[in-house]
Symmetry: C2
Subunit: 116 residues, 2 copies
Amino acid sequence: MLIRLDPASATPLFDQLAGSIRASIISGRVAAGERLPAARDLATSLDVNVHTILRAYQELRDEGLIELRRGRGAIVASAPRDFGDLTAAIDSVVAEARASGVPPAALAALIREAYQ
Amino acid sequence: MLIRLDPASATPLFDQLAGSIRASIISGRVAAGERLPAARDLATSLDVNVHTILRAYQELRDEGLIELRRGRGAIVASAPRDFGDLTAAIDSVVAEARASGVPPAALAALIREAYQ
DNA sequence: GTATTGCGCTAGTTAAACTAGAACAATAGG
DNA sequence: CCTATTGTTCTAGTTTAACTAGCGCAATAC
């Protein structure tokens, strides 16, 4: 699993982390039942604190994407909902936003606005 | 123009502000050429610092949505791009996300991921 | 039993957001 | 020309979230 972090980014590390893993799960690049790297290991390899990793994991757990158990680790949830329509919709929105010259931050704000 | 701010929210005030105004512009609730309230006035009525208002305005200016001139104020840009397709795409994404039980934060992260 | 792994706690540092106040420059309008 | 308005720019202080660090504890696997 490839994870790249940008310490200079405005988006928090744990959010970048969760976002990267989330994308991998929803796109199917990591299968259900598969185990994510142990927090301590990932922290070492990414040169980041363990708590930051765990916070990202907990975010994904709250979304129901993974399960966390002591001694076992982080396991991709086995309730593989169908995200096909969602990913398609996301792709078209991003394409539309790019075409309209709407920057990522603005798009995110618009989505948030529409969600309320 | 109705603007509601939630000081308890995790999203910064200036972002909430920009988001609210941005939505008003793109949806057409405020017309091109129309003038937004003066920063000092808006700051008073929202009980927020002037700099916070100005920062939101500058964000919108960077997106090309408004123009800022000293002495004149903040004016909605007269380059009325067609956001019809974008808003439609946004609506369908939000509907899809709701149906799939994807929380706002997760959706935002997915969008950000897709944008890169 | 032992190593692994997530959980929980305290604590310190750093950066961003927000506030506050002031002076300044461009515009509008009498 | 004069004055009020409005965004721009600067300094400065406070607060809060993110991040780091280290430790012990509890559940699981082998």
